[in-house]
């Protein structure tokens, strides 16, 4: 079910970026005024930074499996991202990012190596079942899962990258295919991750991602290593995209040069904000005793809760026929995107109600 959610939402940003040639932040400011623009920008800034923290949590946990201390991971990540981002060409950056995306396929052989039970995958995975019934934990996990697939920052990132890439209206069809393939691969990889962890860690007490990967290493050394590599890779990709989303958005509004096609001297504030966000987020996993898994889950849930507000603006923008012309939303697209908004609001509400009245759904 996450495939259509990811596709419909991201496809709208591709169309919007290709037609307006503006980033999402600028589109909101121009279309809805400064008040709603600042609201969205501050939303983005907070959620981006929090989500970036979770990416560093994943990366430090992953490399801790191989004995790399967290502080060293943070330094290495910042250095690696400097190399990737500072080459001065959007297309080079995208090719490198796609290379890291391919590395995520490592979860697929890992899933086969654990010899999962096909009947269990079918009965537990494909057929919906709620072992504990409707409760606070279930709503929390559902929202956290949605949050890993679609989040407010993705709208800003995708649209700004479409503009930086120079996509035109004639490229929209290819953009849609690109987005569709991406949505399928994203969810497919998530399924393989669930298969591995569900098969090997079912019922095991997991306090953090490092514990999970260490347990996997004990069960199957190669699977554990693959999971750790995949975890680090996913965190790195997320970190690259999230920090760029913020920098692009601020650049659009503050009028700074804000393109990956520029060098540092040409766009100093763009790169300064990029590295400032990275460095400050990287510090959080280094705090001793911080409940990192809990932070990760809560951040995803908060991001999903705030998503409807961002989606409503997106839908309104895509229905502006004066700007979008023939590329405005069709009735089907409006129905699907409205359903997504309503579903998330209902889920967030159910979580909120179950948090206040835990016994209500039992």
């Amino acid at each position: 079910m996450l495939i259509p959610v990811a596709y419909y939402v991201q496809e709208m940003t591709v169309r919007l970026g290709a037609v307006t040639k503006r980033g999402h932040a600028e589109a909101i400011f121009e279309s809805f005024g400064a008040f709603w623009g600042w609201f969205s920008l501050l939303d983005l800034m907070i959620v981006d930074w929090l989500t970036l923290v979770t990416e560093f949590v994943g990366m430090t946990a992953a490399l801790s499996i191989f004995g790399v201390p967290a502080w060293l991971t943070v330094i290495l990540v910042v250095l690696l991202m400097s190399i990737i981002v500072l080459n001065g060409r959007y297309w080079t950056w995208e090719k490198i990012a796609l290379g890291f995306c391919l590395l995520n396929l490592i979860y697929i052989p890992a899933a086969f190596m654990v010899n999962p039970s096909l009947s269990e995958i079918t009965s537990q995975g494909l057929i919906p079942n709620l072992p504990g019934g409707l409760n606070n934990e279930l709503f929390f996990l559902l929202m956290a899962n949605i949050g890993t697939t679609i989040a407010p920052w993705m709208l800003f990132f995708q649209q700004s990258s479409v503009v930086d890439k120079g996509l035109q209206e004639k490229d929209i069809k290819m953009g849609k295919i690109d987005t569709f393939i991406g949505a399928i691969i994203t969810v497919a990889i998530a399924i393989f991750i669930v298969i591995v962890t569900g098969t090997l860690l079912n019922g095991a007490p997991i306090d953090d991602a490092a514990t999970a990967a260490k347990l996997l290493m004990k069960t199957n050394h190669y699977v554990g290593a693959f999971m750790a590599v995949g975890l680090f890779d996913a965190g790195l990709l997320g970190a690259i995209c999230i920090s760029l989303a913020s920098s692009w958005a601020f650049g659009e509004i503050f009028g700074w040069a804000h393109s990956l096609n520029t060098k540092v001297k040409e766009a100093p504030w763009f790169y300064i904000s990029f590295f400032f966000t990275l460095a400050t987020a990287g510090v959080v996993p280094l705090i001793p005793g911080a409940p990192l898994v809990l932070i990760t889950l809560f951040v995803q849930v908060v991001a999903v809760t705030l998503l409807p507000a961002a989606l409503v603006f997106l839908i309104l923008l895509l229905n502006d026929k004066k700007t979008m012309g023939e590329y405005a939303n069709t009735r089907l697209q409006n129905i699907v995107s409205t359903l997504i908004v309503v579903s998330i609001i209902i889920l967030s509400t159910m979580y909120g109600v179950s948090a206040l009245f835990p016994n209500l759904f039992q």
Partner: protein
């Protein structure tokens, strides 16, 4: 001090630049958007409260 003044004058410039929205929203839509934002904000506050209570238990 000068940097702070420059920053605030930039904010004012941005506010002036985007003072007139290009998309006309009816009063109903604006009201609904405001209600939605407040509602989601309250949900987030509830989540933060839940987060803090869980941390205290740990």
């Amino acid at each position: 001090m000068r940097t702070i003044n420059q920053f605030f004058s930039k904010i004012r410039e941005i506010n002036q630049r985007y003072a007139k929205p290009t998309v006309e929203m009816s009063r109903g839509v604006k009201f609904s958007l405001a209600v939605l934002r407040i509602y989601l904000f309250l949900l987030v506050l509830l989540m933060i409260y839940k987060f803090i209570t869980v941390i205290k238990v740990l």
